[in-house]
């Protein structure tokens, strides 16, 4: 080979070229890859969640919703708080399967159209969204407007030690009120919706058996 000593398969010039460019590539990746991982990490990091006491069982009845402010992201002040509408389970109308996590029905105030806060209107027994006119019935099922699925819910349980009702992680439901891992608003869960909008690793896991 011209430019190489006897038995060499790579010229020195070519070896130095590859070595210098390779060192440059390694040096570039050494700061771009950590920076990229730093920016993308929250997508893969599971958010922690704590059960929060919202009051004794006597606070809640089956006919009227009580408002409870709960914290979904700690350390952000008011931006991390959200409103939950809570009532006791009413066997006459709540026909979804009963377990230890839905003795109290806790609905999220997040509209399932695009995430504005819904308001419960007692006179109409409807949840109404101010942004684009979404309407939900007493159980949180879509009664009109653009929302794509019923209102999200929170797991609830009775803390046997303190005797208080506690609110746990959020979960999403389809129109049959089957439970799914929490999805963002605007993402339907009926039909192929649950496959078009897959479960994320960043959301808190459901409680055992939930």
């Amino acid at each position: 080979m011209p430019g190489a000593f006897e038995g060499e398969t790579v010229t020195r010039r070519r070896f130095m070229n590859v070595a210098a460019n390779g060192a440059g590539a390694v040096a570039t990746l050494a700061f771009t890859l950590p920076a990229l991982g730093f920016a993308l990490a929250p997508v893969f990091h599971e958010q922690a969640f704590q059960w929060q006491a919202i009051g004794p069982p006597s606070d809640f009845n089956a006919l009227v919703y009580s408002n409870r402010v709960i914290t979904i992201v700690p350390g952000v002040g008011t931006a991390g708080k959200t409103l939950a509408y809570v009532r006791a389970r009413n066997a006459a109308i709540d026909r979804e399967p009963e377990d230890k996590y839905n003795q109290w029905i806790a609905l999220s105030s997040r509209c399932m159209h695009l995430g504005c806060p819904v308001r419960y209107v007692q006179a109409a027994e409807r949840f109404i969204c101010p942004c684009h006119g979404g309407v939900y019935d007493f159980r949180g099922l879509v009664a009109g407007g653009p929302p794509v699925r019923p209102l999200d819910r929170f797991y609830t349980r009775l803390n046997s030690i303190s005797g208080l009702v506690e609110v746990g992680p959020r979960y999403s439901v389809n129109s049959e009120l089957q439970r799914f891992s929490p999805r963002d608003p605007g993402q339907p869960l009926d039909g192929i919706g649950q496959y078009l909008y897959p479960s994320r690793v960043s959301t808190p896991p459901p409680p055992p058996g939930g």
Binding site: G80, L114, C131, D184, G186, Y197
Partner: protein, 265 residues
């Protein structure tokens, strides 16, 4: 030192020949001579006068009109946003818990010219988006995107998208009720994209919920990531505009029809 050939200066900028009777090789005013000397000293080392003439004194086609200034108008809107944004960053605190909203209130109420500069930034954002669409419409309806200027168009479209990202991320920064809920709605619209939407929303929010770092993430994208990309792409856009020249309006016809010699027929 050998010099690159440079495009000629326009007539008005060329040194005038001495009038009859005047001293032809005399010196000008000492201040002018000093300025010329300094510019010559710099240019001898940077060799940039040729490039600057290439950029600034270029031929434009017959028939250009006020519609051709929309690109420059967009550029000046961007420069205005950049300058006002830099000085606003001297007072703004991207702190969701206590600071963001209060720092905006402080800028509005206490800082000298604070409300004026913030209003320039706020209204300038809308003006820039209006101008960029008008510029795009001019290019589209004049057919100026056609060969060989397709790449200029593609870069322009990327700049449009980046400008819209600037509008979206900047809207959250005042951190009042309007910007908070508008950002919630915007992030959720983004999340309705199938398959990637949910994960893209997680990336924008830095997690499954609007959290402590969402505001600082928007701030970083708004003032560092996207502006850097925009400055680089504006440079490429302007290089292509200069390199390829400006297209004539579609109603300008070729001045002389090519004469075909009868003998050639």
């Amino acid at each position: 030192m050998p010099r690159l050939p440079a495009p000629p200066l326009p007539k008005t900028l060329q040194p005038r020949p001495p009038r009859p009777g005047q001293n032809g090789n005399g010196r000008g005013h000492p201040v002018v001579e000093g300025g010329i000397h300094v510019v010559d000293w710099v240019d001898e080392r940077m060799q940039m006068s040729g490039g600057l003439r290439w950029l600034m004194f270029r031929k434009v086609p017959r028939g250009i009109n006020w519609f051709y200034t929309l690109g420059s108008a967009t550029l000046f809107a961007f420069l205005s946003q950049a300058v006002t944004g830099v000085v606003l960053a001297m007072y703004y605190r991207p702190d969701a818990v206590n600071g963001a909203y209060e720092s905006i209130r402080y800028i509005d109420d206490n800082v000298f010219l604070g409300l004026f500069v913030r209003s320039m930034h706020k209204w300038g954002a809308s003006i820039m988006i209006i101008l960029i669409f008008l510029h795009m419409a001019r290019v589209f309806f004049f057919g100026a995107y056609k060969y060989p200027r397709e790449l200029t168009w593609v870069i322009g479209v990327v700049l449009l998208i980046l400008t819209l990202i600037m509008g979206f991320t900047g809207y959250l920064l005042p951190f009042d009720q309007r910007s908070y809920w508008a950002s919630i709605v915007g992030i959720n619209i983004n999340g309705t994209g199938p398959f990637v939407g949910p994960f893209l929303s997680d990336f924008i929010r830095a997690g499954p919920e609007f959290g402590a770092t969402t505001l600082s993430r928007f701030y970083s994208i708004h003032m560092l990531l996207v502006p850097g990309a925009m400055i680089a792409l504006i440079g490429a856009h302007l290089y292509l505009v200069t390199k390829l020249g400006i297209s004539a309006p579609p109603w300008i016809k070729v001045e002389h029809e090519p004469v075909v010699d009868e003998a050639e027929v």
